[in-house]
Symmetry: D2
């Protein structure tokens, strides 16, 4: 169903992108076993040249960066179209995570020098990057608890710490690292984001973490990284010292729309495979799977869920575009958990409809599951978003849960202080 959000500007681009995805990328799935995703990177790199030749590279970029200046809401629709070729689409069009997020971040907040050195080749697809925030020893949903330290020595920071789920670190040219620079400041002003080139002595990829049976490599990987006396110039800080948490917030709004629209495109992919299977798999002589109401239930529920999610995300993106992210924080929280869950339900149904084939790597379904089950965890687990959303809602009803939680933390600290006497 076309939505009200399809502008005249984006409509022809959508046609071009869908055509490219359909003709150039989806055929790559044939016979490809998705248990070793990185095997396909060389072919995807060739496709990138075709995309550039067609003028479709970097559709997320602003006009001055050589893009089309699409709004978040418009690019969201492009992103959905790319996600019809899961794993392939965004990479080939140069707007894959985590690079797209780093691009936006550097574009908005980095110094000219950093832009010249890091942003330019990143936008051109000449290098890749990674984002190093979460630590194994601390719950990722609380960005104010962090052990990685960047201690200032002269004009340098000396960084020590351990990060994990630094996605795509393997082969990246630089990392954006979140580290505590001001340990004595208020919690939300302690950390900074600092660029660390991956050839900096002391930067070490300990391992690509095996995730659901695949450690992966290159872009398709999530590294555990240690920083041991990593020395970088102070000018590598993005925006300024102590602003790490604020930058993280800035990154998250559009980032969640990106994730959500990719999931919606992925969900459409799963839906398409589910319907193809339902229409073509004979289960008894002359009876197709799709004639069974169990399957019809899967299909109808999925259709409704996907369409409702799309409108929810696009309206949220539209509001970000028009009234600013700070006015729609509730919606940004809500779409994150709502879409992630809907997507995983659709995916699960598609797997079920494929029977034994569904659990193999012969279709893209199980790979999607393996790589996206985390959708309900990263960028804030479902539970964290729901708690935040409800707290925000109830505040309007006169119940300030965060204030009470704060008082409680103070009490706990007081108790801890007493008991340590």
């Amino acid at each position: 169903m076309e939505t009200i959000f399809t502008t005249e500007r984006v409509r022809p681009l959508l046609v071009q992108v869908r055509e490219f995805v359909q003709n150039e990328l989806i055929p790559l799935e044939d016979g490809f076993s998705h248990n070793n995703l990185s095997a396909i990177i060389p072919i995807l790199d060739q496709k990138r040249e075709q995309v550039k030749a067609a003028g479709l590279w970097g559709l997320h970029l602003s006009n001055e960066e050589g893009g089309h200046g699409l709004t978040l809401c418009e690019f969201g629709q492009i992103s959905e179209a790319l996600a019809h070729a899961p794993f392939f689409g965004h990479y080939v069009f140069g707007c894959q995570a985590p690079d797209i997020g780093n691009t936006e971040l550097l574009h908005k907040f980095a110094s000219e020098e950093l832009k010249e050195r890091y942003l330019k080749p990143l936008m051109a697809g000449e290098i890749r990057s990674c984002f190093s925030m979460t630590e194994p020893d601390f719950a990722g949903s609380n960005p104010t608890r962090m052990a990685t330290l960047a201690v200032r020595e002269g004009d340098d920071y000396v960084i020590n710490g351990r990060k994990w789920f630094t996605s795509s670190a393997d082969g990246a040219a630089f990392a954006v690292v979140m580290a505590v620079t001001n340990p004595d400041a208020a919690p939300h002003l302690r950390a900074s984001m600092i660029i660390v080139p991956t050839d900096t002595p002391g930067f070490k990829i300990e391992r690509n973490i095996p995730v659901f049976g695949e450690a992966g490599e290159g872009w398709f990987s999530h590294a555990e990284v240690t920083y041991t006396d990593c020395r970088v110039p102070v000018s590598n800080v993005i925006a300024g010292e102590g602003l790490g948490f604020r930058l993280a917030q800035e990154r998250l709004g559009p980032g969640r729309v990106h994730h959500c629209m990719r999931w919606i495109g992925n969900a459409e992919k799963a839906f398409d495979l589910m319907c193809k299977r339902a229409a073509s798999r004979e289960i008894e002589d002359g009876v197709m799977l799709g004639e069974k109401q169990f399957i019809q239930d899967f299909i109808s529920e999925s259709r409704a869920e996907i369409d409702a999610c799309r409108l929810y995300v696009l309206n949220t993106a539209h509001m970000i575009d028009t009234v600013g992210v700070s006015n729609v924080r509730d919606a940004v929280s809500a779409i994150k958990f709502y879409v992630a869950n809907a997507f995983l339900r659709v995916l699960d149904r598609a797997i079920q409809v494929h029977g034994a084939l569904g659990v193999t790597d012969d279709t893209v379904l199980s790979a999607m599951y393996r790589h996206e089950r985390g959708a309900r965890i990263w960028d804030g687990a479902d539970e964290v978003h729901k708690q935040n959303l409800a707290s925000s809602i109830l505040k309007k009803y006169g119940l300030d849960i965060k204030q009470k939680a704060k008082e409680l933390r103070q009490f706990r600290q007081m108790m801890a202080a007493e008991s340590s006497l």
Copy 2:
């Protein structure tokens, strides 16, 4: 969250309507026990005068009918606002079911004579009407199976049959009756819609059906009606003989949007009560219900579901307005079951949050449940819509389920014929 669908035309109307609902209707809930809804009708009738005085009567009507000529999408937003006062809002503003549906039907399809006689006083709120389609002996979801007959005798139809769930028949001035006029035609061309004044000899309300413990009366009732040799002029047929099924289809598209937007407004009402309770109910000394994550879960899931549903319905209404209902049949099916289920989940959570109070008639919640549990049943049960939606989707994938079902029916008739030899 404001949506993209709020036009400049509807925005000031929304403000007025919300104000009226808030100031005039919601206070009526105080101390009102919802186990006898009809007790409040006299008061609502007074409020109607205020609405008329404020120029807000009949917001669903076209300009030439004295309305504001709102699109379906715009009126949907009004309808949601009215539904913040469940049971009261639509009635007071003169756009309550089933009259709104009959108004639309007569406006589009009735002869000038019928309009003059029935539509005009209906629009003015001087009379009420009912719609008599479902029969106790046949599954309502299959409108081609029907036992009520209208036999032509001279210039009259003589109608015999039994209907039920003829909502608001008690006190109505006329019924729109679905009856078989052409039993030998193709199934979809057998029935007609005929106006039967309720003072016609042979029209009898057998009972107001007790629904979830309340038989109700007047507008708040669902009658079982018998038609015994009811004689009405042939000119009482709407649009023409044999068009009953097509009219039913016409009625359903906008009708479903109306239902869905009312449910969304009702859901917002339940949500509001849930949050008020969560913010104000102390469960331990100094601890409010809303501090509990179980409750936060209810609130957050509900917020996301309602907002996604609203956008889904409004986009569907917008498509009906712009490309016509026949191009969005899938969406019309999808919103029906999707929104009904979401609404009932929200309502159930609100009841749970209220504890013992939630099952009483001291709040509007249990009355909403009693009167709206049928949302998943009437106008096509969930299961029927899902089957239709999936069939329509799979047809695009080359599997024609309806065609196979048709062959199967033919086989069954053949078998039945043989076995009866």
Copy 3:
């Protein structure tokens, strides 16, 4: 499916009970409109005589009380069989709530004098009783918060307070009232259970609370009751002063098994009606509702849920019988929310399968819903049981949540004290 729990002693009783229910009680449903349950009491009272004549009265009673000395596990199976005739079975066999709970309580804990005066006629079905614990102003799930006071004056208590959901107070001979007798004791030792004859001056039924559209009367009602200077002798206290909370706990273990087994029997009733409808309702020529997989899904899920629930409850009852309720508190919590939810799901499916008929009072389904939606609320809401169960489990893993909550309460009291200075 027969279970391992069916002993030789209970098997013949089950046969007799099922036969009686089938032949004498289920026929009463025919043509009975369930929107006025109390209309049937006179007929049920006649059936009671037949039960007594057949030696089946009071199957919950011990041998010395004239019963059969069944274990809780054995009686549970009887209770399920009685619940195949919802609302009728338990009453006719003299083991209806709240009398069964009061019987158990008095039997175990009351003085000989109280037994003679209250228990004897109660067991004989000559009088009815009620249980008055919950207060509208306090969350029922926290029995230590209570405003009703019983002040000792000489040999009397003078009781003042407001209770609600005092089920079956209308027509009862006495109430067991929970009231604070020792306000300065530790929270769990403040309240007592006291017998108050309903003809005591100051005992007033303010109203039978309308619940889901039915205020009811007599046994089928839930009263709001005020106690104004109600004076009863101190000897009316059960077991002893300050033991109210402990008695409540004692009452709850078997009480939950009773509830659960009744719900399972009710669920079987709903299941039976669902299957009958599925097998007999034609939805197209020659096609029965039960041929649709949507309906098959409802039936199969329900079958599995009911059977799993029964085994869970009976095993819990068996453990209560053999190792004592204090050793299976976790299971007692778990069955409460698990069975209540499963039952309500089965019931909802049965309603859905009945279509429009399902929401009427022409079947017992909607009455069951109206009277049992509270199953997830009373005797501890789902959320309370889940919190308690998880806390108990996590304590074995070294996390003492209750202790932390206690510290937190102290902190809050401290803060409150400070802020009031």
Copy 4:
């Protein structure tokens, strides 16, 4: 919670088994990355010797086979205990699938010669076996549709066909192959089970199928196998020609109990990890994950689901032991889908509670998911079991769905025949 099913005979065995699992197997999980399961086989083979030394080998075997002659219900409890060490337990104790199923099959139905040659070394753990039934081109849930042919030539069968999901074929000594021997017989009498040694010319493992990112090897694998002119003696048929389908049925009853009890043990494992994490993971200073009600909800729901499932399966096993599998087919269908779904829900919650760690292979959780998502598919998908169960139930209500389906098949064949004229 101990259940009523724990006999005096099995109680001491359970103690021994649990101790071994706890002390010898669970420590192997430490630091083991579950993305390459076969790496641990050499260590597990050492543990097997300890098991044999302790007299705990082959606890599923009858007394005459050197086992303990446990009932199915008793062994089910052992199986659950073994599954606390997922992947390790059953293998180390010599009762892993598919060998346990083949053992039962050969024990009951094979000739003495086949027993001597294949069963004996299989029971001793000297060889492994596989079971070759499902074909990629046919829905596995319909065992009467099959393309693999075994054509008799003299005293040999010559077998041709393609199978997949022939689990553990890699390294197996022989396969039990389902093949059509009597193509003209009634559908259920066409196929036979035949032993094919894997060194038979023409037996070829085409690949170990990558499943959720892991192709595996050895015991941990699912092969796609081709049979090309595989020649085996006619005496390799088990039980007799045409009995393949009946043997498959025989295999399935106990097989489903085995699966279910393994899943329940696996679910307990996931539950245990979930609780450990909840009790030890600090999410804010001084606040543990388990203090959050979202997590408490997960824990409580899981506790109830697992305990209800266990009782349901054990009661079913008990009925198989006492009244025979043919009298409890409905329950055997029901536990299959009911337990598989409950297990996967528990597992999903455990993953969620672990956050990012949960999707890695650093815990056993994601490996369990990858290897057991198929639980809802193999041995009959959920949908097939539900359809069968509902059909069986509704037959008692007078609706014979299978008969109608049969008539429909005949019609379709008739139509197909006509259209091919």
